[in-house]
């Protein structure tokens, strides 16, 4: 077991790698009652095509998410939710572009629940009948999201940014696609990607590291590592797929979405630092204490704003969503910020202070901490132990250099208006 100190946060992380490649990350807390266990595979909706038995195989869209639902099916008929509930524990699962995770969190029976979690994920039981049953449930899930205007905005914006990458599709697929899914599809994907060398376990909160490792070894040491299949990657254009688009939906107040696509190959910073600096640029530009925000507030051009960065193998993509009665004027203001990009030392240092304070605050919250470590493992392959130091050492010269290298005009603009002409 390796011990890693998370610098400036008074907390230690323990890691171990089993011979078969399974990674275990543990972050024990002394003064918490809750624990949180995540068992994850680095497989999500990003995989569109891969080889099975020497042949190319492209399962229906949404298969990774479908698989996540169906792993809760047990031959014994005992529902994993019921098992967890018996000790007051909650269970859940989620699928993203680049991972699928199974979680349980509670205050009691840690050993039993950990053991059960890894057992049920390793015990697929798919039948024609139980696969069919899920279609109604997942169809309602897809419909639920598709009814949310903000969700439609995001999906449309993704289609404008990417020309072929999986990120342009909904993680859950479409109703037509999921209707094609069979138990054979589920087994093929399961057997290819739910293998120890593609998976990890992350545990945070109130538990004992030694007994956790013992249970994991008892349950999973005998699993054999399997060569991961060849995944067929698609070629993605450096440029955005479509620059501008207007759509109409059943909304009252218009919305906008802006995407900035940054090819990351030649930016010459390591991934963690690159993410910090990119985030710094957009926080200074559009963050809550930016000059932009004050200006659009006073001019009443902005009602709501949300932004985030996304990473893929070769790209860093910035998403900005906003609600505004005057979308054209707001877009002009945003364009102005990109075209006249400048960063001041004052803002730069203030944001650094905010980030460091937020890192410390996060430690109080087991869930948020779990989330951060989890994101690190997915994004960087390992938890980042010295993030506070990395933030403290950020240099405005590096930031200014980076700004010069990025083509900020590689953006797309989506506007969503009301269908009803009388409205805005």
């Amino acid at each position: 077991m390796k011990e890693i100190e998370l610098t400036s946060l008074d907390i230690k992380l323990y890691t171990e790698k089993l011979d078969n490649g399974l990674e275990v990350y543990m972050l024990p807390y002394k003064d918490k009652k809750k624990y949180f266990i995540s068992y994850a595979t680095r497989y999500g909706s990003d995989v569109l095509k891969f080889d099975v038995d020497g042949e190319e195989y492209a399962p229906p869209l949404g298969v990774a998410h479908y698989l996540e639902h169906k792993l809760f099916e047990e031959e014994s008929g005992i529902d994993p939710f019921t098992f967890f509930s018996e000790s007051g524990t909650d269970g859940n699962a989620s699928t993203s572009y680049d991972y699928t995770q199974y979680i349980c969190y509670g205050t009691k029976k840690f050993d039993e629940n950990l053991r059960y979690l890894v057992q049920f994920v390793n015990r697929p039981y798919f039948t024609d009948e139980n696969v069919l049953k899920e279609k109604g449930i997942i169809s309602e899930e897809i419909k639920m999201y598709n009814d949310i205007p903000d969700y439609k905005l995001e999906i449309k914006l993704r289609e404008m940014i990417y020309n072929s990458l999986s990120r342009k599709y909904d993680i859950a697929g479409t109703i037509d696609e999921i209707n094609k899914i069979t138990k054979e599809d589920l087994y093929k994907c399961y057997n290819s990607f739910y293998v120890p060398n593609n998976m990890f376990i992350l545990i945070v909160g109130n538990f004992d590291c030694k007994s956790a490792i013992n249970i994991i070894k008892e349950e999973l040491d005998s699993k054999i590592s399997v060569n991961l299949p060849k995944i067929h990657n698609v070629n993605e254009n450096d440029k955005v797929n479509k620059k501008e688009l207007i759509i109409k939906e059943d909304i009252e107040v218009p919305k906008i979405g802006i995407g900035l696509k940054v090819p990351s190959k030649n930016l010459k910073l390591n991934d963690v630092e690159l993410d910090l600096y990119l985030n710094m640029i957009t926080t200074i530009l559009f963050g809550s204490s930016s000059e932009f925000r004050e200006r659009v507030r006073v001019e009443e051009l902005l009602n709501d704003i949300y932004s985030e960065w996304e990473s893929t193998d070769n790209f860093k993509t910035f998403y900005l969503y906003a609600t505004s009665k005057y979308p054209d004027k707001l877009v002009e203001e945003i364009n102005y910020e990109f075209d006249n990009l400048s960063v001041t030392t004052t803002a730069f240092n203030r944001i650094k202070k905010v980030w460091i304070a937020n890192e410390v605050k996060t430690v109080d919250n087991v869930y948020r901490m779990e989330n951060n470590v989890y994101d690190d493992i997915i994004s960087y392959g390992k938890p980042i132990a010295n993030r506070v130091e990395l933030i403290r050492n950020m240099d405005i010269k590096v930031l200014r250099n980076l700004i010069k290298k990025i083509k900020f005009d590689n953006r797309c603009i989506l506007k969503m208006y009301s269908k009803d002409k009388k409205k805005l």
């Binding site: 918490k32 939710f81 509930s85 009691k108 109604g136 639920m144 009252e252 204490s289 006073v298 605050k361």
Partner: protein, 420 residues
């Protein structure tokens, strides 16, 4: 953890000492009997206080100051607790151990500047700031349907009881928004400070003597206030025949919402068997509704029930296909009938008890939840949460059946999505 309540005359100060956190959390709550015509004004007031104050004349200055105080967070919130509107501001800041001496005091002073020293001239808020907040509020009020679950619940309550506080839209009303002026908003503010009943909670690792003197220094309300009416809504009789209400919308999924009034229950019944009944019926991923409606009949992705003790009401919500409306209502009805007949096992009860224990045990993980727990105890007659686990353990099946018999389906609302 140690809890002390101090009566400071014009408000109660609740001190929660715990060394579990790196942060200190403080919440100030203004209780006022809810008036429909004041809801919008109260919302606008809450937001305008965060636009500027005497000391920080713009929102940007205000945010920059909060960043300088080591990224303190301030949240504003207004919630209905039965007959009352609870207007609150919450401050969360790193303990001085991680920042510098006096950062906590400066943060409390900052909150007091925002709440007690607003940006007023000539007995009125600033025109431009009011305009910003009104514009934002109007957009919120225009976009209620973008949250179809919340919207369907609101429409359900309006159908269920046209007059009572349960039907009030907490987001406010457009017609009231246009009546708000910078002058009458200030009058309302003064009235709130003068007359609302106030609780201040603070949780974290601090010295009590010092913190009491700091809070006394920055929060001074002159008048001693009393709570005038009950928090709990009057019990509403269930209709003899169920009421169906429907509204069409442009969506592919329909939202079903059902109101089930709860008839007279003892405090014990409400605090114990009712809580278990709800967990068993629709309050967890292992519930009867989840199993029957979703897993057995594939009728939905989400379904749950929740209980409001102050409103004497259980609410059931599900996202379904409109063609499955009758079938879903039938399965839900059957499930509730089965509960009344005692068709659940001791294992179901034990699971519900364990989930409840886990909930109680995790309260201390989050300072906001601890504070909200103590706030609830100010309002509802409840045992301390350590005692609750013991009492809950002794609840019998017959107690749960008895409460199920007091829950009846009354109003059924469907927000009907008509896209295929």
């Amino acid at each position: 953890m140690k809890y002390i309540k101090k009566d400071l005359g014009s408000y109660n100060l609740h001190l929660i000492n715990t060394n579990k956190y790196k942060t200190v959390t403080m919440k100030i709550v203004f209780h006022s009997p809810i008036k429909k015509e004041d809801i919008t004004k109260r919302n606008v007031l809450s937001d305008i206080l965060l636009q500027s104050c005497k000391k920080y004349q713009s929102k940007r200055e205000m945010i920059i100051e909060s960043e300088n105080l080591y990224a303190l967070d301030i949240y504003n919130n207004i919630q209905r607790y039965g007959n009352y509107s609870m207007f609150s501001f919450t401050l969360q800041v790193l303990n001085d151990r991680y920042t510098e001496d006096d950062n906590l005091e400066k943060s409390i002073e900052f909150l007091s500047e925002i709440l007690c020293n607003p940006d007023i001239s000539n007995n009125a808020f600033k025109k431009d700031k009011l305009s910003i907040v009104k514009n934002n509020t109007e957009v919120v009020l225009s976009s209620l349907k973008e949250d179809p679950v919340g919207y369907s619940q609101m429409r359900l309550y309006e159908a269920f009881d046209k007059e009572g506080p349960i039907s009030y839209r907490m987001a406010g009303y457009k017609e009231d928004l246009s009546k708000i002026t910078k002058e009458n908003l200030y009058t309302y503010y003064k009235n709130m400070i003068e007359n609302d009943y106030v609780d201040i909670f603070i949780a974290g690792d601090f010295d009590n003597v010092k913190i009491v003197s700091i809070i006394k220094k920055y929060f001074k309300f002159r008048k001693i206030k009393k709570r005038k009416i009950n928090y709990e809504l009057d019990i509403r009789k269930c209709r003899k025949r169920r009421l169906f209400a429907k509204e069409k919308c442009e969506a592919s999924q329909s939202k079903l919402a059902i109101a089930c009034p709860i008839s007279k229950m003892s405090t014990y019944e409400k605090n114990y068997p009712l809580v278990l009944a709800n967990i068993i019926f629709g309050g967890s991923a292992d519930s009867k509704l989840f199993k029957n409606v979703r897993e057995k009949n594939s009728l939905c992705y989400t379904i749950n029930s929740s209980v409001s003790k102050l409103d004497n009401l259980m609410t059931i919500k599900a996202g379904i296909d409109k063609d499955n409306f009758n079938k879903t209502v039938e399965v839900i009805t059957k499930t509730l009938d089965d509960m009344k007949k005692g068709k659940f096992t001791d294992k179901d009860i034990n699971i519900a008890k364990e989930l409840y224990k886990s909930y109680i045990m995790s309260i201390e993980e989050d300072p906001m939840r601890i504070i909200n727990e103590y706030l609830s105890m100010e309002i509802v007659d409840m045992d301390s949460y350590n005692e609750r686990i013991e009492i809950m353990d002794k609840v019998k099946k017959r107690d749960i059946i008895k409460v199920f018999k007091k829950i009846n389906m009354d109003t059924i609302f469907l927000l009907e999505g008509d896209i295929k």
